[in-house]
């Protein structure tokens, strides 16, 4: 195996068994090389700054940190390093906040090693953001307010008009659309509109 070509990965995870499992699991994946591990956020950050790995696999809740938000921010600020979050936190509002900080992937702890390896390969190939399939439960998780937005989108309305219609701000509509893209696994607004039309939202009422 050509080590110089391999993607370098740093794992920061406080749960020892999970950490070991990840380290051995990823070590067996071709093209991936685990260059370091840490069990708390401060030493992990130092290590990341020294090693400059391609990818940091980061747990969201670690001992010795001021808060997940500031921690993720600090990791995302390391030049040349992409951050994938590996966490049990499955609530969308929090995931959205984390993604807005600049992480490229968000995986739930229920994922297996091969999926993690696959994600690492994908983000290195430039695809982002990638989030766990489980979170993209498709149409079942589309809330009532999102359905309304989809309906208006499929009428061909712009963010500004949708915001006016719904008596909210364009920023909120944009945020809802971004969340929809994530939930539905779509890439951009055009795809979202196409999806809304195809799914029949334009025919509602």
């Amino acid at each position: 195996m050509d080590v110089t070509q391999a993607i370098t990965v740093l794992i920061v995870e406080d749960h020892q068994v999970t950490l070991d499992g990840l380290r051995y699991g990823l070590a067996n994946e071709p093209g991936i090389s685990v260059v370091g591990t840490a069990t708390d956020s401060d030493s992990g950050l130092k290590l990341a700054q020294n090693l400059r790995p391609d990818v940091v696999l980061l747990d969201l809740h670690l001992p010795g940190q001021s808060g997940p938000k500031t921690m993720v921010q600090a990791y995302c600020n390391i030049p040349g390093t992409k951050v994938i979050i590996f966490s049990g936190e499955g609530r969308m509002a929090f995931i959205q906040t984390v993604l807005s900080l600049g992480v490229v992937g968000y995986l739930l702890k229920s994922e297996n090693v091969s999926k993690i390896a696959e994600t690492i390969q994908q983000v290195m190939a430039g695809k982002q953001p990638i989030i766990s399939q489980e979170l993209l439960a498709g149409e079942t998780k589309v809330t009532k307010s999102e359905q309304e937005v989809l309906k208006l989108l499929s009428y061909g309305m712009k963010y500004q008009d949708i915001a006016e219609q719904r008596q909210t701000s364009p920023a909120t509509v944009r945020k809802q659309c971004e969340l929809l893209l994530l939930k539905l696994g779509l890439a951009n607004r055009e795809e979202l509109i196409a999806w809304a039309v195809k799914s029949g939202y334009g025919d509602c009422k």
């Binding site: 609530r91 906040t97 909210t168 920023a171």
Partner: protein, 425 residues
């Protein structure tokens, strides 16, 4: 809030009466204080007059409904009085006054130079004004804003409607005054003596503190009971089920087991979420409010959305917690009672003000009937909102407003002034 026709007619009649009084007052030879312009003094007179009018109509209404002799209320029209000389006080001032009295208590409104004060005093003390209108009997204070356009309470301007609500509340306190615990008579007699007044104040403070401690402990106990109940009902039974699945003969399949475990995780997380807003410290208000709303949407299927504008300043942890609880409480009320299909939460921050609104399009309620519902259903939601706002006032001037119309929905508004105002008047 809608007036019934009779009331509307009466208020029309009263306002014409009020106009006459206004002319009367303007006719009074009030020596305008040198520092203040004539305009604001006139404004003061009109303002007192409107308060008088509201008191009058309330008293009228009240007397009509309650034909009891001991609670009959009379209202005296605004008049100007000169304060008698008090030892150790600067020059006496002229005050504009009006009063509403029951047999034993009097709600006395006193106004001068951009300041209106409301006192609740025993009628027998009224003869000696300096004794009657002491700070300890002060219910509420309004200041005139710098430009003379608004009345301020706790540093925030009041709308006409709010003044009406305020006066109603003060009136209620007047009516309920006989029910208040009687102050000990000996102490009252000495209240003009400094040393004794001090002792009394200290005693009162100690008593208040004891009550507060009692209240806090009771609340803690209640909370612990709640946790234990929820753990027992929601979690233990599920865990036992998993246990049975491993020991009994009816084995669960892996999928079923995973589902049960998921459920347990979910319930535990809900309990944690309810209790310790760890998330709030970690993620900040906007994210947590967004999350609360998304969960509420999942439960109720409502069209919920969250608007967040402006950068949230660095608020003290306690203030964030109270805001969080206010949202939680309001959303709870919406889910429980409103049958709304649309919920909007918005959080707007400018450099000087934070405004939070929680709106729904549900069935709403009549504010008057809220008291009734409170006792019937054992809820205390709206009262809690006011208490939270009160606690925020330890840091910033803050105000919470609950407006509701039947069949049109409810709007809860919290406003906090962040700078340029002292925390407490």
């Amino acid at each position: 809030m809608s007036l019934n026709p009779l009331l509307r007619w009466r208020s029309l009649w009263l306002s014409s009466l009020a106009k006459q009084f206004a002319e009367l007052i303007n006719g009074f030879d009030i020596e305008p204080p040198p520092a203040k312009s004539e305009v604001s003094h006139k404004y003061l007179a009109v303002f007192i007059d409107s308060i008088y009018e509201q008191l009058y109509s309330l008293a009228h209404e009240f007397n009509r409904h309650l034909q009891t002799t001991h609670l009959r209320i009379s209202v005296i029209a605004p008049e100007t009085t000169k304060e008698t000389d008090k030892p150790g006080q600067p020059a006496p001032e002229s005050y504009l006054r009006c009063r509403a009295s029951t047999a034993a208590w009097s709600l006395s409104v006193r106004a001068c130079k951009g300041l209106v004060e409301f006192f609740l005093v025993p009628v027998r003390d009224l003869i000696v004004l300096s004794k009657a209108e002491q700070d300890s009997k002060l219910l509420c204070k309004l200041y005139l804003s710098q430009d003379g356009m608004f009345w301020l309470k706790d540093g925030l301007p009041l709308s006409d409607l709010e003044i009406e609500v305020l006066v109603k509340d003060l009136f209620k306190q007047l009516v309920l005054a006989p029910m208040r615990t009687q102050e000990s008579p000996e102490l009252e007699n000495f209240s003009n003596l400094k040393g004794e007044a001090l002792t009394h104040a200290i005693r009162q403070l100690i008593l208040d503190k004891q009550n507060l401690v009692q209240k806090i402990i009771t609340q803690q106990e209640e909370m612990q009971k709640g946790i234990s109940r929820e753990l027992h009902d929601a979690v233990i039974s599920d865990v036992l089920m998993v246990k049975r699945a491993f020991s009994g003969d009816k084995r669960l399949s892996d999928e079923e087991l995973l589902e049960v475990l998921d459920q347990i995780t979910h319930k535990l997380r809900d309990i944690c979420h309810e209790l310790a807003p760890r998330d709030l410290i970690d993620w900040g208000l906007p994210t947590v409010i967004d999350d609360m709303l998304q969960r509420s949407a999942e439960r109720s299927g409502c069209d919920c959305s969250f608007d967040h504008q402006g950068e949230l300043p660095d608020l003290p942890q306690a203030v964030q917690l109270h805001i969080y609880r206010i949202v939680q409480e309001a959303l709870n009320n919406i889910e429980k009672y409103s049958q709304a299909s649309l919920v909007r939460v918005s959080l707007t921050c400018s450099n000087n003000e934070l405004k939070l609104t929680i709106e729904d399009n549900g069935q709403g309620f009549e504010p008057d009937k809220l008291e009734l519902r409170k006792s019937r259903q054992g809820g205390q939601g709206m009262g809690n909102l006011a208490q939270r706002a009160e606690l925020i006032r330890c840091f910033y001037p803050a105000r919470v407003k609950v407006e509701s119309k039947q069949q049109e929905g409810t709007q809860v508004t919290l406003e906090i002034t962040l700078q340029g105002a002292t925390a407490n008047f």
